[in-house]
């Protein structure tokens, strides 16, 4: 038998046959290693975990068309390819258009979007009812719902009028004898319309104003007040602000009339498209913000109404650290897609700062736990040494050198460290998993590298903790084994 074999035999015998004391040392190392590997796992997983948490504050990246280029679903998809797929929590397209509600003669800003993505990028949206799932369903902002009195299950008709039909300027229609129609938003964004006929000199011959959408007896009077109406006759287009005196008390409606006249087009060119659809209200949206004054519908529905496929903006929720985000943002802007990317700083900044603090805290706790483990192991080994004074004395009497004694205790300590580390690495993962599920509500990935690291660190800690007890052991006088001691 070699000396090494005998050495291992002695150490394992000591550990296996003197279980109770060694179990305490093993347990303290295992607990330390558990906390160590658990916290390290959490330490490295926190950015991912917290990233997901922070994503509940909404989008942290905004994509906008750059200059004259347009943003479409295609360019958005291309842009998204520059970000690793698993980091994209959600990407929501938005197209904002004003739609009329003919039954109430009102118009509202409507947003076409992708509801499955909305729930990811704006998790704070609170919907009374359901998100639309089919076509021709809408989600109505609470403010609008209160104003027009719609409820979940109500239906509403929305129509889209395309006024800018011709690329030609309105002035092209100002020809003698022309008959023009125009409209503009007046008081409270309500639309009034005008019909104008021009004489042989292309001056206004007659004017009819439908201002029934304006306030009764105030703005609505622009359509009936003879003195006001008379001012238009004989004027040439375009009207200048000084040409027409506003009706007292109805300046907004008066200005709208002027705007409507100036943008009026000949009948054959005007209102080339007017699409109307009936929608079912599936939910009422409350956010406490401006979203409450919008009507949301599926992007496809809105595209069908408008006949256009462009987007105004895309909101992205990306799970990544501040630096990575900056990188993604720059690569999207620089990709030549005609898209410019902006980060929502108030979200990304606070994320980075909270993460930093959290990691510092975890680091601190880890260090403290390691120190406590060392104290515990050291104390236990100290007790072991004093319990085994006679045995150590005997070994020395039998000829053990100080080096052998040191080696044997270090061997036992490191064996315990290794075993405790192994146990701790496994328990630590379980611990991290439990913490993760309870605190962050999501599971954690096992880091294979953490196993050897925990074992090695535990062995090193055990070795350091054994130094003082070993010093004690080496100092024991072999004469202790003789009688009288």
């Amino acid at each position: 038998m070699t000396k090494r074999k005998m050495f291992l035999r002695m150490i394992t015998a000591s550990l296996l046959r003197r279980r109770s004391r060694m179990l305490i040392a093993l347990l303290s190392i295992a607990v330390g290693a558990t906390i160590l590997s658990g916290l390290v796992t959490i330490y490295y997983d926190v950015p991912r975990q917290m990233g997901a948490q922070f994503r509940s504050y909404g989008a942290n990246m905004i994509l906008l068309p750059e200059g004259n280029s347009t943003l479409t679903m295609d360019t958005l998809d291309t842009a998204l390819k520059t970000i690793p797929e698993e980091n994209v929590v959600g990407a929501t397209p938005y197209r904002y258009v004003r739609l009329d509600m003919p039954s109430r003669q009102q118009s509202f800003t409507s947003a076409g979007t992708d509801f499955s993505q909305v729930q990811k990028t704006s998790p704070y949206f609170s919907v009374d009812g359901e998100y639309p799932e089919k076509t021709r369903q809408v989600l109505v902002g609470k403010e609008i719902a209160d104003t027009i009195g719609v409820k979940v299950g109500s239906s509403m008709e929305l129509s889209y009028k395309n006024t800018a039909v011709s690329s030609q300027e309105a002035s092209g229609d100002w020809v003698p004898g022309a008959s023009l129609t125009g409209s503009a938003e007046g008081f409270n964004e309500a639309v009034l319309t005008v019909n104008v006929t021009l004489d042989e000199n292309a001056a206004i011959e007659s004017i009819e104003i439908d201002a029934s959408s304006q306030t009764e007896n105030i703005g609505a009077l622009v359509g009936t007040d003879p003195v006001y109406l008379k001012q238009f006759i004989g004027k040439t287009l375009p009207l200048d602000g000084e040409d027409i005196d506003a009706l007292a008390g109805a300046t907004i409606s008066s200005q709208a009339v002027v705007d409507a006249v100036n943008t009026a087009r000949s009948t054959e060119n005007a209102v080339a498209r007017e699409n109307t659809e009936r929608f079912e209200v599936t939910g009422i949206l409350s956010t406490g913000g401006e979203e409450e004054s919008y009507i949301y519908m599926a992007l496809e529905d809105l595209q069908k109404l408008t006949g256009e496929e462009i987007l105004d903006v895309a909101e992205l929720s990306v799970s990544a650290g501040a630096e990575e985000l900056e990188e993604y943002s720059n690569s999207i802007t620089g990709a030549g897609l005609g898209i410019s990317s902006r980060l929502v700083k108030r979200v990304t900044k606070s994320e980075a700062s909270v993460l930093g603090k959290l990691q510092a805290l975890v680091f601190l706790v880890t260090v403290v736990v390691l120190l406590l483990t060392m104290i515990c192991v050291s104390t236990t080994m100290m007790a072991v040494v004093s319990e085994r004074r006679r045995e150590i004395g005997l070994r020395k009497a039998l000829g053990a050198s100080d080096g052998s004694i040191r080696k044997e205790f270090l061997g036992e300590g490191m064996f315990l460290g290794g075993l405790g580390g192994l146990l701790g690495a496994v328990l630590g993962f379980v611990f991290a998993q439990v913490v993760s599920i309870n605190v962050f509500g999501s599971s954690i990935n096992f880091q294979p590298l953490l196993l050897p690291v925990t074992v090695i660190v535990s062995m090193a800690i055990a070795a350091v903790s054994c130094q003082l007890p070993i010093k004690r052991a080496v100092a024991i006088d072999p004469a202790i084994v003789l009688k009288g001691e």
Binding site: M6, L398, G399
Partner: protein, 224 residues
């Protein structure tokens, strides 16, 4: 040449002279008993002979070499190579089996050899108890394991401290018989005891009193 010679050694602890100018000689192959009441300096002398302590004054010649001024480390080497120790309280490593306890001595000395260790146990009649832990052995059996451990490295000197102090008469006789065998094989034995019967088994008894050699008695009945 004498195997062991103490030349005018004294051991002084403050005011107390544990050993006071003691000189003794032990020849190679001799069996010597050291007797004396408590406080007579037996333990101190045992420590010095066992290389676990150094005299305050005087020389200790082991195999003709003065070891009284050697370092602790050197003394450990000498003890390991030349001396086999047997104790009153046996002192076995509690978590190792009988044969492993014998092998511990081999381990520190040179190379553990289980076969040789088993043979040594066979010599003390415990071969079939080799795999037992100390707690499973009787006192007499434990002391026999310790005898096997003491002789496993073929020491020049076996130093026994009250080897039968904790044994009944039957086991005392077994141990003394083992000593006789060792003596017959030429091993030098020094047995510290206060038991006259054990002392009488030796060739010569040195009696200590108050740190001095009070008298030496040659056992005329030795070998009879």
């Amino acid at each position: 040449m004498a195997l062991l010679e103490l030349k005018n050694i004294s051991k002084i602890y403050g005011e107390l002279k544990a050993l006071d100018n003691v000189s003794i000689k032990v020849e190679k192959g001799e069996w010597v008993a050291i007797m004396g009441p408590s406080g007579s300096g037996k333990s101190t002398m045992m420590n010095i002979i066992g290389c676990m302590d150094k005299p305050s004054m005087g020389e200790v010649l082991l195999d003709g070499v003065d070891i009284s001024k050697e370092s602790q480390k050197k003394l450990t080497d000498i003890r390991r190579d030349k001396i086999g120790l047997i104790f009153q309280q046996f002192h076995m490593v509690t978590y190792l089996t009988a044969v492993e306890n014998v092998m511990v001595s081999q381990y520190y000395h040179s190379m553990p050899d289980e076969e040789e260790a088993l043979e040594a146990l066979g010599r003390v009649g415990l071969r079939e108890r080799a795999k037992h832990l100390p707690s499973q052995l009787s006192g007499g059996e434990q002391q026999r394991v310790c005898v096997a451990r003491a002789l496993i490295n073929h020491p020049e000197l076996i130093l026994a401290d009250e080897p039968t102090g904790n044994l009944d008469e039957a086991n005392e006789n077994i141990v003394l018989d083992l000593f006789r065998q060792l003596h017959n094989e030429g091993t030098t034995l020094i047995v510290v005891t206060h038991d006259p019967e054990v002392a009488e088994a030796a060739q010569r008894t040195i009696v200590l009193e108050h740190g001095r050699v009070a008298r030496e008695v040659i056992n005329e009945n030795f070998g009879k």
